[in-house]
Symmetry: C2
Subunit: 337 residues, 2 copies
DNA sequence: TACACTCGAGCAATCGTTTACGTGGCGCGG
DNA sequence: CCGCGCCACGTAAACGATTGCTCGAGTGTA
């Protein structure tokens, strides 16, 4: 029963069953053209020897691997891991496996991953990245690609599933303004992804719409990679120490917002009494934090689902809409009460 | 420059360069046996036409795919996503891609994934699961497997990289006892993984070691899948409502612990004054929670690194140690202050 | 009896690589 | 001048599957 070494091949099955390899293939794929008796014999051999088809060979022949690639900036971030989880599940349900690539916002790494994925001949790619140098990938064998959440500026006619970041930025900022904030800081990383930039634009629009000036001192940019919340915590601590005055914070995402909450607490600044804070993503961090974080809710499950549908559609050669914008909404909690 | 449709094949490169396909192969792999002039000509054609080798074909021929499979229970949990991130990076550094499979603690799903991975002829599998029905996978083509963190009871001679869960359970419980707790609840999911069970055994050993009885009413088992913290929160709320008396909680992981913290707060029970809480994993949730959570620190990065090394070693046909136990330590924070 | 048709099955090409082996030309030593 | 060896390269057989084509035997019909 147990295989001694190598997995058994189709030819061995054929030999053991005393039929041709073509017949085995037909039986396996239920194509007909074989007798009931032959079917039983073949299936018995398959069962007894634990034959499992070699997808590498199949993929070579059929020019499709039933594998898709997924490029993610940081799977450690709740938003992205939720996205990845849902996408993986959606693809699995359709018979696809998912190769995961964590590019850590590193363009070079991302490009290397892209080459690898093409080389593996994935059937499609879900890309969450604003960095990919794009002249390249069209050359790189025109694999179907769908951007989800993040996308680069020059993304030609590549479809994307994004959330309404501009509106999210506006919602968050206006909410702070309504609560009486007049000096609202914007905390962000250095991102080339348009989706992230749009949050900043929404912020500025909201300020302008209410006659507030966008003080450059209130734009707090995190250097380096935004990992966990530690960097945000330290950066904000430095800003506080430098004496910059503010009464509201809009953070590009919940991880940064949580870092801000901790820095504020460290400095003895009360939230929401002294400073109100709004995050982005409405991830698990927002519910865990104290005070619970007001955050712009997005729908990673929905985005994953749509992204998956779009990509599959593309793979099947259908037309798809270029831009699919998922709405956002504000989840109000204690941090702006 | 841009490819019209299909990626170009090696034969086309050969034709364009006016050499045989064998020569192209030799140039690409730097095997020698070609002139400098030929090399230049071939490389020029490759460059100009954006040739990228087909790994499916290569894999078929070489009987290795440079892909490894990873079965994870819940990539949404910070501990596992950190593990996955590190593993993916470690493998990528060695030229391997990672297929990610989220089995959601579902045995059936896990087994299906296993078959798929075998079918894809992955070179090895990192498995974080206590569920796999194991008689199967030895049959399933004896691919190298390494268990990380979780492993099933009957895991024959499959190597594993685990943390010292028993000691972790004891550390956590003894810490609570030292802080004066006498009625300590243990919150867990229903897990067949030995690693999880060991935490409970450590808990019981610690109790027994201090002459405390293990009250069955204090063993709080979560039904269903433990996703996020909501279920723990609700379950503990019910326990509180039912009037069970306790002054300490040891939770199987941080997600459950955070749910407990929230339920306690909902019920107006103070932490640590009325009830002290210890989690497991020392994940990001522990630092974010208020009060900050005392937790058994584990080292997912280290575990991922070791797991990766072990698997690669196995793939290369070397012997490896069967059990690699990574120590744990207690990170004391406010929830037990 | 002859013919057409169907059914079950095999043959062989093909996908894109790698690699063992064969081969022609050239240089060089004897 | 002959022969040997090496260099640079080509030929072809794999790897494990799919699939169009062929083919023989059996059946039904006229």
């Amino acid at each position: 029963m147990a295989q001694s070494n190598k997995p058994i091949s189709m030819r061995e099955v054929a030999e053991l069953a005393g039929v041709s390899i073509a017949t085995v293939s037909r039986v396996i794929n239920g194509l007909g053209g074989f007798s009931e008796e032959t079917r039983k014999r073949v299936e018995k051999v398959i069962e007894e020897n634990g034959y499992i088809a070699n997808q590498a060979a199949k993929g070579l022949r059929e020019a499709r691997t039933r594998t898709i690639g997924m490029i993610v900036p940081d799977i450690t971030n709740d938003f992205f891991s939720t996205l990845a989880l849902q996408a993986e599940r959606a693809f699995a349900d359709e018979g696809y496996s998912v190769l995961i690539c964590n590019d850590a916002n590193d363009a070079e790494r991302g490009e290397h991953y892209l080459r690898t994925l093409i080389s593996k001949r994935v059937d499609g790619i879900i890309c969450i990245s604003g960095r990919t140098t794009f002249d390249e990938d069209e050359v790189l064998g025109n694999v179907p690609i769908v951007y989800v959440d993040r996308f680069p500026e020059r993304s030609h006619d590549i479809p994307r599933v994004i959330s309404d970041d501009l509106r999210g930025g506006r919602l968050a900022t206006e909410h702070l303004i309504e609560r009486g904030c007049t000096r609202i800081a914007f905390m962000t990383g250095t991102h080339s992804a348009l989706s992230v930039q749009n949050r900043g634009i929404g912020y500025e629009e909201a300020l302008a719409g209410h006659g507030l000036a966008a003080d450059p001192a209130l734009r707090i940019e995190l250097k380096g990679r935004v990992r966990r919340f530690q960097e945000a915590r330290e950066t904000l601590a430095a800003v506080i120490a430098s004496g910059v005055d503010f009464d509201g914070i809009f953070a590009m995402n919940d991880v940064i917002a949580v870092g801000a909450l901790l820095a504020l607490r460290d400095a003895g600044i009360r939230v929401p009494e002294d400073v109100r804070v709004v995050g982005f993503d409405d991830s698990i961090y927002a519910s865990i934090a104290t005070p619970a974080l007001t955050s712009v809710r997005r729908f990673p499950e929905e985005m994953a689902k749509r992204g998956c549908e779009t990509l599959l559609s593309l793979i099947e050669g259908n037309d798809v809409e270029l831009e699919d914008v998922i709405p956002v909404e504000l989840a109000v909690r204690e941090s702006t009460a």
